[in-house]
């Protein structure tokens, strides 16, 4: 048996470069499969784990729901419900988006920009035009929104509560809540009335014990939906988000995995090709072994072993290489590597089967070589 192994190694050394290149194909194939598997599983696991201590719930209304009911629920009862959730012993905090204040503005072309988030700030910096310190009267500074270059220009006049305001500058400042689109000087606060923005209909719940997340989520949803109008329903937004992300990653992984599998299949074909050529080239050698009394099964085994040795060694190296590259990439993006060894084991099994399958045809060819060719 040991001599059999030696013969097999000698067979591989017969054409080292070719054996190496064949193996390289296997390496690349297995390596890319491992890389893709490691990256997609780690990333989706990471995204799944990211929100282990929190979830987002929100109001979902059916299309036929009465707008008044929605509006009513979205203000007073909403805050009461949020407050009730905040007081739960298993909840450590509730984050509600800061509502902010808004204003309806008539733009120069006569159209109305409703619910524009507005703030009074004398010191807002401009990227174009003049700041408030250099102007008097009814003046405004607008957010330099590239999409509204036409309507929001320095010098255009907008209408607020029937009064005309001149836009003296453009800013890239979005204000304290990150969504302010219109700035007025402090002195304008005397005659301009801002409206409280409608409360956001979704909020994030942070639980005390991450391991109780699922339980708390179910309880909170039940609590929120208790006694609510039949056309309304609180749902878990984060779950939907997670499911979407997971689906996306699965599709991506499947697609990339398919490509990697193709390279693996090409590698398998290459094994068939190379081993077949090797069989042809070593026909005399095989004939000598047969004339000396080597059985057909031994010849077959010898060639099969050659294929398997190449496939296994390079597949193992490919696993390691793919794993290392994945580890490096994941370290760079600061995502922990989460990759099951069972997956690698399964993959190696598949690769071994592929190697054996690919080696079978040439091995059978080799076993079929007739020693009679040595006599002329």
């Amino acid at each position: 048996m040991t001599y059999f192994a030696k013969l097999c190694i000698e067979g591989l050394r017969y054409n080292k470069v070719r054996s190496f290149l064949t193996g390289l194909g296997v390496l690349v194939g297995v390596g890319s499969v491992v890389l893709i598997l490691a990256l997609t599983t780690s990333l989706s696991a990471h995204l799944g784990n990211q929100s282990t201590d929190r979830f987002t719930v929100g109001l979902s209304s059916s299309a036929e729901a009465n707008a008044d009911v929605v509006a009513a629920l979205a203000t007073a009862p909403m805050s009461a419900r949020v407050e009730a959730v905040r007081l739960r012993p298993d909840v450590s905090a509730v984050e509600v988006e800061t509502p902010g204040r808004t204003l309806s503005v008539t733009s120069p072309d006569g159209s109305t920009m409703a619910d524009l988030r507005c703030a009074f700030d004398d010191n807002v910096e401009v990227v174009e035009g003049r700041p408030f310190s250099e102007a008097t009267g009814n003046v405004a500074i607008m957010y330099a929104n590239p999409e509204f270059r036409e309507s929001t220009q320095v010098g255009s006049v907008i209408g607020i509560d029937g009064a005309a305001f001149t836009v003296i500058g453009l800013t890239q400042n979005l204000g304290p809540d990150g969504s302010t689109r219109l700035f007025l000087p402090q002195r304008a606060a005397e005659h301009v009335q801002l409206t409280e923005a409608q409360a956001s209909s979704s909020f994030t719940v942070i639980v005390r014990q991450p391991e109780d997340l699922a339980e708390t989520r179910a309880d909170v949803l039940a609590q929120l939906n208790d006694g609510i109008d039949a056309s309304l329903k609180f749902v878990d937004f984060s779950a939907e988000e997670g499911a979407m992300l997971e689906e996306m990653f699965q599709t991506l992984g499947l697609f990339l995995g398919l490509i990697a599998s193709i390279s693996l299949a090409v590698a398998a074909l290459n094994i068939v090709n190379v081993m077949y050529i090797s069989t042809l080239e070593r026909a005399d050698e095989i004939a000598i072994y047969r004339s000396l009394g080597m059985t057909r099964n031994h010849v077959r085994g010898l060639f099969l072993m050659e294929s398997l040795v190449v496939v296994t060694t390079f597949a193992l190296v490919g696993c390691v290489v793919g794993y290392l590259i994945a580890a490096v990439i994941l370290t760079l993006v600061k995502v922990p590597l989460a990759f099951g060894w069972t997956t690698i084991g399964l993959l190696l099994l598949v690769v071994l089967l592929v190697g054996a399958g690919g080696g079978l045809y040439p091995a059978n060819k080799a076993a079929g070589i007739d020693p009679v060719r040595l006599l002329h």
Partner: protein
């Protein structure tokens, strides 16, 4: 030991049909040194393929040690081939292995393991103990044929078949190979079948059979 009875061998192709052997009968007792002569195409190699268990596509009866091996399984056939040594005109050594390695492979195929003492003795017997680590390409034609004979004789086969063993060698080297065969014949109880064109080679054997167009036309026992 070897017994052929009315053996016909015909090569058939799409547009040809060659009768290589015609109802050939031949008996070779154990230990006999036989030479087979004949013109090119007379059927010498065809006869050796059948006797050497390499060709079973013939009509008639061929028995080796009282047993026909036609139709037996690969296992039994391989077993039987391990008792036959072949020497080919073009040596047929594996060129990427050393001389010793070539013999070791034969040893492992025949006995399942390397019999190092036997390999060393085999090289000693053909006078090439000092070439054990050389590669076939580093040897002369005569030396290569000695290695081939050593390989064929490994494990003491019952039958040694040599098809034109001196065909690729010059006169002096050929005589040395003949001496080696004679020496083997003296020391081993093994039948030797030598195919040759050369009268000198033929005369070295105890018995000479001449073939013409697949038939035995002369059978001389010295």
């Amino acid at each position: 030991m070897i017994s052929l009875n009315g053996v016909d061998k015909t090569y058939r192709g799409r547009n040809f049909e060659v009768a290589a052997l015609r109802s050939l009968s031949l008996a070779v007792p154990q230990g006999q040194y036989l030479s087979v002569v004949g013109k090119s195409g007379s059927g010498k190699s065809s006869l050796m393929k059948i006797i050497g268990l390499l060709d079973f596509d013939y009509e008639g009866v061929y028995e080796l040690s009282g047993r026909s091996l036609r139709g037996v399984g690969d296992q039994a056939l391989s077993q039987a081939r391990r008792r036959i040594g072949y020497v080919f005109q073009d040596f047929q050594l594996v060129s990427r292995f050393t001389v010793r390695r070539n013999l070791e492979i034969a040893s492992v195929i025949r006995h399942g393991s390397v019999d190092a003492a036997q390999v060393a003795q085999g090289l000693e017997d053909v006078g090439l103990a000092d070439k054990a680590l050389s590669y076939p390409d580093e040897l002369s034609g005569g030396q290569k044929q000695r290695v081939a004979i050593a390989r064929a004789m490994l494990g003491g086969p019952d039958l040694l078949i040599a098809d034109e063993p001196t065909g690729a060698l010059d006169g002096a080297t050929a005589s040395a190979i003949l001496d080696l065969l004679a020496d083997i014949h003296q020391r081993h109880d093994c039948s030797i079948l030598v195919v040759t064109h050369d009268d000198e080679v033929a005369a070295a054997a105890e018995r000479t059979v001449e073939l013409v167009a697949g038939e035995v036309v002369r059978d001389v026992l010295r």
